[in-house]
């Protein structure tokens, strides 16, 4: 795979891929004005100028060149923690000012550090960074309100099983229960039920021990967020030397990378079921991503000719253009007679997945305590997903399954035909931009045009719009699509999620290495934009080239199901024609306002060029209408979903 790369600050696009190079060269050669795709280039230029008026301070622009302080013993608890994060290869931190000594210690240990406009947004950014890259990131906030702002973010990350580290400062233990000064509170009870592990650090000399707890929890078993709150006594404690750390000074001595391997009998039992099955299917979920099990998955699927469908908070564990992909073949799901649920941590209940009532299940995951929850299990394999898939690939018999694969193929074609018909209906509505137009034309732009199909990472958010775009998005490599909402189903984090995804791509961290420097796409709704839209400024100041597509239907998507309520309906409405694009321009981004279907693609092209050539984010404000969700007036109306696969939202 060849993808263009951008140097850290991304003002020029170096090494464009061959496919994207063609377009890049045309723009670079001053061909913009003569290109029909760039008919609005003058407008874009104007907007670019507007953005250029905002000054990015040198401290931000050149942050990677700033000298690193030489931090040696004796050092504070905060610095010891920063040092540990570097040793544990934490790849990024997202914060707002607060928890000062800890965030500065993290930045001083050369961990890429970003600050934004709201601690909640920064928690979402950290979550999405992890989901896109598979690497650990930190979210940080100040005591009191900074921390309480982070709660939605940690809850969403918990549903996603994201190994994110949430740190927040707390006041001194000696102030407990006094209300002396400000912001005295207990944090841990507020994250009860929405974290994998949490601890208030109160005994200064035991900090090294709790660094061990933190990273053991982040890096083993079924992942999830860890919440550590630093009291002043701990972060300011002086550690004199290595001797103060005991065995906690060495990563290899306070935790292990050993993984559970599958028991031979369990593999045999699963393979016996496979031998009896006529229509097996694999669900590749969260655990496949974090165990980096995609090669083993492919080997097993190909050897035994088993179709693969994805679920989970990120996509691309199995390439959607693979002949065995059942990701966009929803009608085949109910035919599967045996399903391998691999790393399906957020478990659906009976009937939520489209597999039929007679389907048998093999579950593979690195913790047994959860096996059999919600769905009955026929064979449970307690194992690291990668090791189990390798074993299955090794020992499975090859099989033809011609008629089953033909059935999956027919389902894929039927789904594509249905999507095409939705597009044709949407294209017929000329008074505003229908979501099917956005979904289809974005998809063609990303996967069937000049760009390498594996290039662009997408944060797939929004509410009503998501029900269209998800049907058309593709992932050709791990982490290429990050499923914004997922099971906690928050409206609003999308623009903040995009900060995290774009930072991961800008750094080329983990699974995003091959996409380093490429523009990314974020999809959101107008209600969603309202929650985190200020993070456009964060995208702009760090030159994160995000194309934010805002589906603006002048309303919360809940209007259509409440529109007949005489007093209630207005609660679901905004002013009509809100100019999110102008707001973006004021924040240093490029803005486009698209009011008819034919304007969408040229606007997307302009935004993409600006992202690629200048490293600037954009907002494409797509003017839709709220009535598009009413099926009797505007077929196909508000769409539902079938899980797992492209339409997966929750699990």
């Amino acid at each position: 795979m060849s993808i263009d790369t951008r140097p850290e600050e991304g003002n020029t696009a170096a090494n464009p891929s061959r496919r994207s190079f063609l377009k890049f060269a045309a723009v670079g050669a001053g061909a913009a004005a003569s290109s029909p795709m760039l008919a609005g280039a003058a407008g874009a230029q104007e907007a670019g100028d507007e953005a250029a008026r905002l000054v990015v301070p040198d401290e931000i622009a050149n942050r990677d060149q700033a000298p690193l302080p030489d931090i040696q013993f004796p050092m504070t608890g905060a610095n010891l923690f920063g040092r540990a994060c570097a040793l544990e290869d934490v790849k990024a931190m997202f914060c707002c000012p607060g928890n000062y000594n800890v965030i500065h210690a993290i930045a001083d240990h050369n961990i890429p550090s970003y600050s934004g406009r709201n601690e909640g947004s920064m928690t979402h950014a950290a979550d999405a960074f992890v989901r896109a890259t598979g690497e650990i990131a930190i979210a940080s906030g100040t005591e009191g309100p900074g921390f309480t702002n982070m709660i939605s973010g940690i809850a969403a990350a918990n549903s996603c099983r994201t190994p994110m580290l949430l740190v927040a400062s707390n006041m001194r233990v000696e102030q407990d229960d006094t209300e002396q000064g400000i912001q005295v509170m207990y944090q841990q009870p507020l994250t009860e039920g929405i974290k994998k592990y949490g601890k208030r650090l109160i005994t200064p000399h035991r900090l090294p021990e709790y660094i061990g707890y933190t990273f053991r929890q982040l890096k083993t078993g079924i992942p999830g967020p860890v919440h550590i709150d630093f009291t002043g006594e701990v972060s300011n404690h002086q550690f004199e030397g290595e001797a103060d750390l005991g065995h906690y000074g060495s990563v290899a001595r306070y935790r292990t990378d050993s993984r559970p391997a599958p028991a031979a009998g369990d593999i045999e039992a699963a393979l016996r079921l496979l031998d009896q099955a006529e229509r097996p299917m694999i669900v590749a979920s969260t655990g496949v991503f974090y165990a980096k099990a995609w090669d083993a998955l492919k080997a097993f699927a190909e050897k035994a000719n088993i179709p693969v469908v994805e679920s989970g908070p990120m996509m691309g564990k199995f390439p959607h253009d693979h002949p065995l992909s059942a990701h966009a073949a929803p009608d085949a799901l109910a035919s599967a007679d045996l399903v391998f649920l691999v790393g399906q941590y957020c478990m659906p209940t009976v009937g939520e997945f489209a597999f039929g009532p007679d389907t048998r299940y093999v579950r593979i995951q690195p913790e047994a305590g959860d096996m059999g929850r919600n769905l009955p299990v026929d064979v449970g394999i307690f194992s690291c997903e990668k090791l189990a898939l390798e074993e299955l690939a090794d020992r499975a018999r090859s099989a033809e399954r011609t008629s089953w694969l033909n059935e999956v193929d027919a389902a894929r074609r039927a789904f594509a035909d249905q999507n095409q018909s939705y597009y044709e209906m949407g294209r017929g509505y000329s008074e505003a931009v229908h979501p099917a137009v956005i979904a289809k034309e974005l998809s063609d732009f990303l996967y069937n045009g000049d760009l390498a199909p594996e290039q662009t990472t997408v944060l797939s958010g929004g509410f009503g719009i998501a029900r269209y775009t998800r049907r058309f998005l593709q992932a050709h490599r791990p982490g290429q699509v990050v499923n914004g909402a997922y099971q906690f189903a928050s409206i609003g984090p999308d623009v903040a999620y995009a900060v995290g995804v774009a930072a991961g791509v800008q750094l080329g961290a983990g699974a995003q290495a091959a996409a380093q420097g490429a523009p990314i796409v974020c999809i959101t709704g107008d209600a969603g934009f309202g929650f985190t839209g200020m993070e456009i400024e964060t995208q702009a100041k760090y030159r994160l080239p995000v194309i934010n597509i805002v589906y603006n239907n002048n309303s919360w998507g809940t209007w259509y199901s409440n529109r007949d309520l005489p007093r209630g309906a207005q609660l679901h409405l905004f002013q009509e024609g809100v100019r999110y694009d102008r707001m973006a321009e004021g924040l240093g981004a490029h803005g486009e306002y698209v009011t008819s279907p034919d304007q969408f693609l040229p606007a997307l092209q302009r935004a993409y060029d600006i992202a690629q050539n200048e490293g600037l984010p954009s907002v494409i404000n797509c003017q839709a209408k709220r009535e598009f969700w009413i099926r009797d007036e505007y077929e196909p109306g508000f769409l539902g979903k079938v899980e797992p696969g492209v339409m997966s939202y929750y699990h």
């Binding site: 009976v350 009937g351 199901s561 769409l639 539902g640």
Partner: protein
């Protein structure tokens, strides 16, 4: 396999929960899709097994009901693979609307009781999947499905 035995297999596998059978083994109820209690009637005289009153609030003259019937009829199409099809040689598909309450069942022709239970259970499951896909607002209002 008899109708009660076939239903029991789903209870044992954890698909149907909180299962009750009337002493005459003609009426059964259990919690299944969307955690709703469902009622199955076995009419030995008519040789029919029916998910009684499985969908509410669908007027007989509505577009919704027309589409439900068309969907169900589609499940008998010879184009479907055998494992997905209601084979008209084995079963007659029954769909009744009484005061906007819909029941769905199979009348056995040459098909066995065990096969009838399996086919009908799969069909009702698919009917729900179809509703999640095309009638999300209905599922939200009538079955408490989340709209997100």
């Amino acid at each position: 396999m008899t109708i009660p035995d076939a239903l029991q297999t789903y209870v044992q596998r954890g698909i149907f929960k909180s299962f009750n059978a009337q002493p005459d083994q003609r009426k059964f109820d259990f919690v299944w899709l969307n955690r709703k209690r469902m009622h199955v009637h076995w009419n030995a005289g008519r040789n029919a097994i029916v998910f009684k009153d499985v969908l509410h609030n669908i007027p007989a003259r509505s577009r919704h009901y027309r589409e439900v019937r068309a969907y169900l009829k589609g499940r008998t199409s010879p184009d479907l693979p055998a494992h997905r099809r209601v084979d008209p040689d084995l079963f007659d598909l029954v769909c009744e609307n009484h005061k906007s309450v819909v029941s769905v069942g199979l009348r056995l022709k040459s098909g066995s009781q065990g096969a009838a239970v399996r086919r009908l259970t799969a069909l009702v499951h698919e009917l729900f999947i179809y509703h999640h896909d095309r009638w999300p607002e209905y599922m939200y209002e009538n079955f408490g499905s989340p709209l997100e």
